[in-house]
């Protein structure tokens, strides 16, 4: 697949790129729908419940989550900077910003893991816990896949798979990473603020 980037004509690459971009955007939309469905379930259960959070459930700590969010949004900034560096053909800067993004992503995941390990066991038995773990877990899984995606793209750049004008994989991972950030905005608001 990636080898086509080098071997086909400009016009044909442009065609292939536009297909892949549309396909990838449609994939992100359908992924958003999955999250929306779980969010709907959460809001439904919440509105049917007289008190929230349910008895015996303490909201997870806002402070840790806020710090973790800054880490994640920070990785969004570094992702953007990496993309800019690529466009300006500044490979050393690109590498650095990519590594920063990966590190921050892993940092977010570690923060999540730490938070999970400090939440009460009984959470699983409540509908708050059910929604919280499913949604943040699904999101965390997306971050994890995103980190793998980032590492793969970084390795691909080292192998010379992309050129200065043909770098769809990089575009895709940028879109994906920003998508993960946007979902987190919604989840952070729903579970920690609202």
């Amino acid at each position: 697949m990636a080898t086509h980037a080098v071997s086909i004509s400009d016009a044909e690459y442009e065609e292939v790129r536009s297909h892949r971009l549309l396909g990838f955007l449609l994939f992100l939309i359908s992924d958003t729908i999955v999250f929306s469905s779980f969010i709907f379930s959460y809001l439904y259960d919440r509105s049917a419940s007289p008190i929230w959070p349910p008895l015996g459930v303490e909201r997870p700590g806002l402070y840790l989550a806020a710090v973790n969010s800054i880490v994640l949004f920070g990785s969004g900034v570094t992702m953007h900077l990496a993309m800019e560096a690529w466009r300006h053909a500044d490979r050393p800067r690109f590498n650095n910003w990519m590594i920063a993004t990966i590190v921050l992503g892993l940092g977010f995941l570690s923060g999540q893991a730490w938070e999970y390990s400090h939440l009460h066991d009984t959470w699983w038995g409540t509908v708050f816990g059910a929604s919280f773990f499913t949604l943040t877990g699904l999101h965390g899984f997306h971050v994890f896949i995103g980190v793998i995606f980032l590492i793969t793209v970084l390795l691909q750049t080292r192998r010379g798979v992309y050129s200065q004008t043909r770098y769809f994989g990089l575009t895709a991972v940028t879109l994906y990473w920003h998508f993960v950030d946007v979902i987190w905005v919604a989840l952070f608001f729903l579970f920690y603020v609202y």
Partner: protein
């Protein structure tokens, strides 16, 4: 655009080298036509299995208290019958089967946008089906294809059901994305939106529904699975969850799903009619745009399946109004199809017969659908045999008749041979008569008091004057259901026989005008030697073929 500009644009669609070896050609194939055949074979197999389950149901219902099947086994039978027909037969055959077979050819492309994903989508299908049927070993689902909790949580086999349907859902979503990109981006030069064949419109809208709606099913199934296996209380009222939540999330997908199951058929009928009537389809724009309207509104009517679930009146009202509204664009299509027959030059081939049979049956199903849309009427009709009658009229009278129209129509393109016309007509008449005879009386069975999902119906009618009538009606329905099952054997025989005895088809046996008929039967793996250049829409019989670089000789005289 000038012809030379169009030609320049087309030159990018180069031809890849051919696949080599049995595995690359027929097993792990990236060719949409081979993948289509794979879908047809797999869904055909599940059609037989699900059909046998249906016949088992009808044997049980020959007596009002039959001891042939236990209540448990009966529940397993109808649950897997429904689940298989929806997810392992109709949806895959219409999208993965017909969508793959005809759509890329109709838009003048060499293949779909993402051939590897197409192959992957297909190969999710057999494991999905195996998982669903594997549930029989661990306690198959008993709560119907809708698997409402809490009762669905009492059977461990529900976990297999969740996993299997989840897989086929992923397959459906990927195919939806694939087809959307293909149609939006890969139409032949000159094929503007309003020059696109109506089957392509139908496939586009269906693909949109597949990509967007199915994601909700995945979430719902994940919730049910997690609750079943890890005891997490999504739908558990004792811990803050709600069984009605499942109904909302399930139906938010499943209502658009029924449109996934009918829109491609609308597309098939819109192709079959002009071909055998040899005049333009009446109301092209109305048919195209009404499909879009139906798809959008289909997301807003889901709770009409839940009118007895304790929803507040102010919630029920908009769902009722919108459900009634969605009947209007459908009616427009039906009237347009009938008007297409007027002043035509009609040839009664088997595909046309199936299309003509589809029309009144789907109309009738649509009328009973409106009867279900009205909240007060639905209160009486919900969860009775009235609904079973309605759903079979639209899904069998609609989807199955439509898919046979498509199958008889595109069989020569797919295989290079024609199916036998006399056997085809026999199949049609057997199926048409037996289907209507079996399912029409079920409307009043439901209205008089026979509810769904019952292995025995003596208790419901004991002490009334109706028991005898209800038993007789069930015996009658079962008899005709057996004839219906037998009618499929006629098709199977015809299909097998065509391999050796079918007339050679040539590129355009029906004298049609859409692009799939402008290449050989079956097409070469690269579909077209040169990407076609499109000048006009495809339905103007009487005018020259609307393609710049295709021989007018392909406007052949029909063989039949």
């Amino acid at each position: 655009m000038t012809i030379s500009e169009l030609q320049r644009e087309a030159s990018h669609a180069h031809i890849h080298p051919p696949p080599q070896g049995f595995v690359s050609r027929y097993v792990i194939s990236f060719d949409h036509k081979v993948i289509a055949v794979q879908y047809f074979i797999t869904s055909g197999l599940f059609f037989v299995l699900a059909g046998l389950l249906a016949e088992l149901i009808r044997v049980q219902l020959l007596q009002s208290h039959n001891t042939l099947l236990s209540a448990q086994t009966f529940a397993n039978a109808y649950s897997v019958h429904g689940s298989a027909m929806v997810w392992l037969v109709i949806i895959p055959v219409l999208t993965g089967g017909f969508g793959n077979l005809a759509m890329p050819l109709m838009i003048g492309a060499r293949d779909v946008a993402f051939p590897w994903l197409n192959m992957f989508s297909f190969w999710l299908f057999p494991p999905a089906g195996i998982l669903v049927f594997l549930s029989f070993l661990y306690g198959a689902p008993q709560a119907g294809w809708t698997e409402y909790p809490p009762v669905s949580l009492h059977t461990p086999g529900t976990a297999f059901w969740c996993a299997g349907i989840f897989l086929i859902g992923v397959s459906s979503t990927i195919t939806g994305i694939n087809f959307m990109v293909t149609i939006i981006k890969m139409r032949a030069p000159g094929m503007t939106w309003t020059r696109m064949p109506l089957f392509v419109w139908a496939t586009l809208v269906t693909a949109f529904l597949s990509a967007i709606a199915t994601a909700n099913l995945s979430a719902a199934l994940a919730g049910l699975f997690i609750q079943l296996v890890f005891h997490v209380p999504f739908y558990d009222p004792a811990h803050g969850g709600s069984p009605v939540l499942w109904q909302h999330v399930f139906w938010f997908y499943s209502h658009p799903a029924v449109y996934i199951m009918i829109l491609p058929v609308f597309g098939i009928v819109s192709e079959v009619l002009p071909t055998f009537v040899r005049r333009p389809i009446f109301g092209y724009r109305a048919i195209a745009y009404s499909s879009v309207a139906i798809a959008l509104v289909s997301f807003m009517v889901w709770a009409h399946h839940m009118f007895t679930s304790g929803l507040a009146q102010w919630v029920q009202l908009p769902f009722m109004i919108l459900t009634m509204a969605v009947g209007i664009p459908t009616g427009i299509k039906i009237f347009s199809w009938v008007a297409t027959l007027w002043d035509g030059r009609i040839r009664f081939t088997t595909p046309l017969l199936f299309a003509l049979g589809f029309l009144p049956m789907f109309t009738f199903g649509g009328i009973t659908g409106v009867m279900l849309a009205s909240v007060p009427a639905d209160i009486h009709e919900h969860a009775t045999y009235f609904v079973i009658a309605h759903l079979h009229y639209v899904l069998f009278g609609g989807s199955v008749f439509g898919l046979f129209a498509g199958l008889y129509y595109w069989w020569p393109k797919m295989t290079g041979r024609l199916l036998d016309e006399r056997l085809g007509k026999l199949h049609f008449w057997l199926m048409f008569i037996s289907f209507n005879a079996a399912f029409l009386p079920m409307h009043w069975l439901g209205l008089l008091g026979m509810q769904r999902r019952v292995a025995f119906y003596d208790n419901q009618f004991e002490g009334t004057k109706l028991l005898h009538l209800v038993t007789d009606t069930n015996v009658w329905a079962s008899f005709w259901a057996f004839v219906l099952g037998a009618s499929m054997l006629v098709f199977a025989y015809n299909a097998v026989r065509s391999a050796t005895h079918g007339k050679i088809a040539g590129p355009n046996p029906w004298g049609a005008r859409t692009l799939e008929w402008m290449t050989s039967s079956p097409p070469p793996y690269y579909n077209f030697a040169e990407i076609p250049l499109v000048l006009h829409g495809p339905y103007d019989y009487g005018k020259p073929l609307p393609y710049a670089n295709i021989s007018q000789d392909l406007a052949t005289e029909p063989i039949a």
